[in-house]
């Protein structure tokens, strides 16, 4: 699998979760684990551009796919990615634990909806739990991120990826909510 543009060919224990593989085998500890049952969204990464829960996937399932983690959005020393920058400007984070998951979800959201409506914003972040901010600042950050994003189609994120069967499936995800 390719992770943040780098090919990783090392063998992986078949029962290793993608989240554990990223964190403990590859040291990509920016991807956090908040519930291990696919509800909180802290572990959200992009799989071929679409947000997925890395705690609900085995690492081996990512074989042949492109995985993007929070560490892959902006190189060390380089300016923040527009979504990261917007979270900073709008104080869209406090403790920072849920933040990488939110940022990855919003990158996915803006790829699909470059200028999201208020409802699309709510739905786009409604697969992620935050216990610190009360979401208001995160909503503002999404709007700001859309302003900061240079063009509607950034990076390698494709529209078609939203139909991936591995799309995040928490109880709060998008239209399936309650």
């Amino acid at each position: 699998m390719r992770i943040n543009g780098v090919v990783h060919a090392a063998p992986v224990d078949p029962r290793r979760l993608l989240s554990d593989h990223l964190r403990h085998d590859l040291g990509l500890t920016g991807t956090h684990v908040g519930c291990e049952h696919g509800v909180c969204g802290c572990c959200t990464v992009l799989l071929d551009g679409a947000p997925v829960r890395s705690c609900l996937m085995l690492a081996v399932q990512a074989e042949g796919h492109e995985v993007t983690t929070i560490e892959g959005l902006a190189a060390d020393g380089a300016p923040l990615h527009p979504v990261q920058q917007a979270f900073h400007e709008c104080q869209g984070l406090q403790c920072g634990f849920c933040t990488p998951g939110f940022v990855m979800s919003v990158v996915g959201l803006l790829a699909q909806h470059p200028n999201p409506t208020a409802q699309q914003v709510d739905e786009g972040i409604s697969g992620n739990l935050c216990r610190c901010t009360g979401y208001a600042s995160i909503r503002r950050a999404v709007v700001r991120a859309a302003e900061l994003s240079p063009s509607p189609r950034r990076g390698a994120i494709s529209e078609s990826s939203s139909s991936s069967p591995l799309r995040a499936q928490g109880r709060g995800e998008g239209g399936t909510k309650k």
């Binding site: 908040g34 216990r131 208001a136 109880r171």
Partner: protein, 778 residues
């Protein structure tokens, strides 16, 4: 002091690494650590007949399996954190249970292995034989005491406390009108997004124990570990690294894992780590909010309070490690912002076979606010008066401060409100709320509240100007996302005349600052903020004295600005702080950023030794702040809500907050605290209920069933501030951490009652609960 940074909406300095995925939370630390898991009781109350760990120990990859019998401190009761004379029957658990378990999730066996998966597999091989005992789960059944949680605690009562201000019996008897009311609260949970975690390493060569702990009180953990393991405190380092939310329950002395992990690291000579999973978090981490209140209120025909008599039971859970702080806070906070001429409050803290309780954001205050506000609504309903008008008639007036309530506070002192303007909060909230929206099934709620913040005893800070001109500032109080690094930097930058970006803050690391208490009770800003100002002020004075010699000026004529010490009125006559830092250290070989600048101010010959009596090298200082009493923040929330008549879904149409936490250090940070607090309050009022069954099993121990709100449940919140500075600390600030949560239940209950027409006397609610209430009434 110039006030360039204090009060400004400074963007947070801690964000960059968190946004890049470079945060460092406890579970991110590895370093070849063995991993571990805890075998926990599946029963709420049972006698342990036998524990067999033979198969687990024999499993390949298992490093150690510990039962109580294997621990030198296995028969020691864990400490009661805050003893109290009325806690006559305090009981704490042992690190690992070996005789009786008293709640689901109580730790029994600790397994350490090469990996987490091996540890979990081995844990499944542990055989514990239990003999189930009768379970006491509701506070009401605990008070009835048909069964006992602890054999030697009669009536299941850990503590009872009665306080009275005025003469309640007589005043009630003389009241023209009286009402009896009953209120009930079920348990909720803080649920920070990061669970708890501990990592420990013993260095035999250095004789040093290093512990990373997702705690709200690393300095206290360090003190306890040093005693337990017989080490000098200087050989024990405890660090709270990035902590993914705390909200109260991450302060506890001790959770069993906080002893087990360091113990295993000492025994095994390898780093050991334990990371909680979400399911065990639901039963192993302290909870709160269970209380049952009986209220008798006397009032006159104008709706003015004459007497209030409150008798409540507090669900303490299986043990009382945190003493009786929670019911003490509730008892103290019921009167809130109102004049209650005669007030009596009695509580009993009772044992139940459930997870122990300790403060969770709000900590006994949401209950108190709910009781008072619901009582005022009941008075308004009986008299046919406007609810807000009844509140106006009872509010403490701005000229009544300092105001004595007549009951004791959590620090043992009397409750005395230091400053405030409660009527202004209410009127501003009404103004912001605006006209009622069109439509049916809409209700309005409004609730002012007070919050005792910033309890002592003290916090401290160390501030040092480096020879690079950069400033490092350290405090023992740890951070769980509140933006401490930013606000401390603002305070220090103002004192030293430097840019916020030049101040690097360290918190919660005993290697950097070894004294302190912890982050709780909305105390960090007041305690550590003022300590930072004290320490940085001392550094500024020292800088002036050193610079004065070289500028041939009187220190009183100098000021710190733009990274320099300069003569007031002649800004060109100055010396960079970096150079002052070099000069502060009379060493033989100078090096560092400020050296070149300092050489033009070469040390002038003076009689005596290079360091005169009382002088110390280095441009640094350590300062402390200790308050005479709590600062009382206040606010008012108001809302319009709509309850769907078919689904009973709650729609919050508008929610406004007026908040007074004294002088604002950083409005951006305070607003973040309020928005987060309101969201947690909405969750606690309408979605989050810990559902225990009669057997003491928690039936919704996952995020699938314990419904924390997503963005779709939380409305936009409009916030305004008024500032009545606290006279009790030099910066005039009051705490803000818990304010968002406190009145939310009261506001929503009032609004929902109006929208549905059914009396709301309990929390939390849910669509199903509302449906049942409406059906029961019709």
């Amino acid at each position: 002091m110039t006030t360039r940074w204090f009060g400004a909406r400074v963007q947070r300095v801690e964000d960059d690494r968190l946004l890049r995925g470079h945060g460092r939370f406890t579970d991110d630390i590895d370093d070849g650590a063995l991993e571990s898991c805890i075998v926990r009781s599946p029963f709420a109350h049972a006698r342990i007949r036998s524990i067999d760990v033979t198969a687990a120990r024999a499993m390949p990859g298992v490093a150690a399996v510990y039962t109580a019998a294997d621990l030198p401190f296995g028969q020691t009761d864990l400490p009661i954190l805050i003893p109290h004379p009325n806690l006559t029957h305090g009981r704490t658990q042992r690190c690992l249970a070996s005789e009786v378990v008293r709640y689901v999730g109580e730790a029994v066996v600790f397994v350490v292995a090469e990996s987490r998966s091996v540890a979990e597999d081995a844990a499944e091989l542990v055989q514990v034989e239990y003999e189930p005992l009768p379970v006491v789960i509701t506070p009401e059944s605990a008070a009835l005491a048909e069964h006992l949680v602890h054999d030697d605690v009669p009536g299941n009562v850990a503590a009872e406390l009665i306080q009275e201000a005025g003469a309640v019996e007589a005043a009630l008897a003389a009241s023209p009108r009286r009402k009896s009311l009953h209120f009930r609260f079920e348990r909720g949970a803080a649920c920070p997004m990061e669970g708890r975690a501990v990592w420990a390493r013993w260095s035999a060569a250095e004789h040093r124990l290093t512990v990373y702990d997702s705690t709200q009180s690393p300095t206290s953990i360090r003190g306890g570990l040093a005693v337990l393991f017989g080490l000098p405190e200087s050989n024990v380092e405890v660090i709270a690294p990035d902590v993914g939310g705390g909200f109260g329950p991450k302060i506890m002395l001790f959770y069993p894992d906080e002893l087990l992990v360091p113990f295993a690291a000492l025994k095994l000579g390898r780093p050991v780590k334990w990371t909680e999973d979400r399911q065990e978090h639901f039963t192993a981490v302290n909870q709160e909010r269970g209380q049952v209140h009986e209220v008798e209120v006397g009032f006159d025909d104008d709706g003015k309070l004459i007497a209030l008599d409150v008798d409540f039971i507090h669900d303490g859970g299986a043990y009382t490690p945190y003493g009786i702080i929670l019911p003490i806070i509730t008892a103290a906070q019921v009167p809130g912002p109102y004049r209650v001429p005669n007030y009596r409050v009695r509580f009993r803290d009772v044992y139940t076979n459930a997870t122990p309780t300790s403060p969770y954001r709000g900590a006994g205050r949401p209950h108190a606010c709910f009781v008072m506000e619901r009582t005022l609504d009941a008075i308004a309903a009986e008299l046919g008066l406007d609810r807000t008008e009844v509140r106006r008639r009872n509010l403490i007036e701005p000229d009544q401060f300092p105001y004595e309530v007549g009951v004791v506070w959590q620090d043992g002192n009397q409750v005395v409100y230091d400053s405030g303007d409660y009527p202004a909060l209410v009127e501003r909230a009404l103004e912001m709320l605006g006209p009622r929206p069109e439509g049916d099934h809409i209700g309005m709620g409004l609730s002012p509240y007070v919050e005792g913040t910033g309890v002592g005893p003290y916090e401290g800070a160390h501030v040092q100007v480096l020879v690079s001109g950069k400033v490092v500032a350290a405090t023992g109080i740890p951070n769980q996302g509140q933006g401490h690094a930013t606000v401390w930097a603002q305070i220090v930058a103002d004192q030293l005349g430097v840019d916020v970006s030049d101040v690097e803050v360290s918190s919660g690391d005993t290697r950097r600052f070894q004294w302190g208490v912890g982050t709780f009770a909305s105390r960090a800003a007041i305690m550590a903020g003022n300590a930072m100002a004290v320490a940085a002020g001392m550094v500024a004075e020292k800088a002036k004295h050193i610079a004065a010699e070289h500028l041939e000026a009187d220190p009183a004529d100098l000021e710190l600005a733009g990274g320099r010490v300069r003569v007031k009125g002649s800004p060109d006559r100055g010396i960079p702080l970096a150079a002052v830092a070099v000069l502060s250290n009379p060493m033989r070989y100078a090096f560092g950023g400020g050296t070149e600048a300092a050489t033009q101010f070469a040390a002038k010959p003076r009689p005596g030794p290079p360091l005169l009596e009382g002088e110390r090298p280095g441009l640094e200082a350590t300062g402390y702040f200790s308050p005479v009493g709590s600062a009382w923040a206040a606010g008012c929330h108001a809302a319009y809500v709509r309850v769907d008549p078919k689904t009973y879904r709650l729609e919050i149409l508008k929610y406004v907050v007026v908040h007074d936490c004294g002088r604002l250090i950083n409005p951006l940070v305070v607003e973040g605290q309020i928005e987060g607090g309101v969201a947690q309050g909405i969750g606690g009022a309408f979605y989050e209920r810990l559902a225990y069954d009669d057997e003491g099993q928690l039936r919704n121990a996952s995020f699938m069933e314990f419904l924390m709100p997503y963005a779709t449940e939380i409305p936009a919140i409009e916030i305004d501030h008024i500032e009545t500075p606290s006279p009790l600390n030099p910066l005039g600030i009051k705490g803000a951490g818990e304010a968002g949560v406190i009145p939310v239940g009261a506001v929503l209950a009032s609004a929902i009652e109006e929208a549905t027409g059914v009396p709301i006397t309990e929390m939390p609610l849910s669509p199903l609960k509302l449906f049942e209430l409406v059906r029961a009434q019709s």
